[in-house]
Symmetry: C2
Subunit: 205 residues, 2 copies
Amino acid sequence: MPKRGYHHGNLRQALVEAALTLIEAKGPTGFTLSEAAKQAGVTPAAVYRHFDGREDLIAEAARQGYEIFADVMQYAYDKGQPSAMSAFEATGRAYLAFARRYPGHYIAMFESGISVNRNPELAAISAKARRVLERAAEELSQHIPPEKRPPPAMFSAHVWAMSHGVVELFARNSPGTQSPFSPEDLLETGIGVYLRGLGLIPPDN
Amino acid sequence: MPKRGYHHGNLRQALVEAALTLIEAKGPTGFTLSEAAKQAGVTPAAVYRHFDGREDLIAEAARQGYEIFADVMQYAYDKGQPSAMSAFEATGRAYLAFARRYPGHYIAMFESGISVNRNPELAAISAKARRVLERAAEELSQHIPPEKRPPPAMFSAHVWAMSHGVVELFARNSPGTQSPFSPEDLLETGIGVYLRGLGLIPPDN
DNA sequence: TGTACATCAGTGAACGCGCGTTCACTGATGTAC
DNA sequence: TGTACATCAGTGAACGCGCGTTCACTGATGTAC
């Protein structure tokens, strides 16, 4: 049984979770340190026992997000093996699934404006997550004749961009008026067309 | 010569422009009505002669953005005629060019969290902009055999998603570590691969 | 087991700040005669 | 052209608010003997 702290128990993590809930509910703008403290049942000043301040708390939320993100992507990649194609497709689906399932984390990571270079730990874990997708792209691209093979970094950037675009425009309520297609469908078909364009799927399949 | 108002001249527009500058510089979060007023050389209270409040000012900035956006897209589309392909590619490039050239507008439109349904005028102009891309996709898709033709709305959603993703991840400084490729290259090649996947570009071209 | 002491997580009061918004006003501009 | 009046854009003072942050403190928990 995990030992509980002196007073609250595990305030640090409770604050991160409060922050995630609030970020999800009100956007990175609406999130305030005071409200997170209140939601954790604690005075705002208590937050400073665990974090340097507001930004630091958001950064920790993002860090935990990247941690989960990297795991999820890696797991999808492994599970899709040994086919390079199915591994790649699984990571694409995992991206969207992550955004759906952990919206607070996703927002903290990609919409809060905190830089990934704000501290080395954050930079490391985000790079790790990115590398999963890059590796999947790299392996898949070996099936393309070398002379028409795009650089894997470009390949993965395309897929990342489409995934992120689908999330931002169609998996949230706000700006893109809802399309008649589900985000999952859009991403699946979009990546499908893209892979066909790379010659990785037969043209008439 | 445009007539100037009583005191300031054209406060309404000056406020919109101040807002755009601030939104660009500090993000939608950092933007404050008071600062916009100050930058326009006016008391915060004066803003209320022209707008209902802070949100209304952002909405007007977004509206003007959609206005420009629709024009830019339409112009690119027309200029790319009569080839459906070149018209389509031109609108894709225009998307990115718009994001680059009017960052304040772009942020107000897509990142400020204001809903396009907040007022009818905004909904109308944003729909108009969207329709340009949809029409380009529709015409282009006529070159695909009907049985393997995706719905044009899906087609344009894919391209919009990739464009938006490239802008958000690679054309800003923050989250995506800078890729070795320029956003323009990424979008151009990404859409190229996608169109090839649709069979619109010969496989070995 | 019991006592004395050290640690340190969380308190509560206080701070200065800039925010969005309101209000009665002022004074420059426009208009009627 | 000159005067009296109406309009209304912008003023400046004030408001209440919640924010992030600081500080000396308290009191529960852990530890040494």
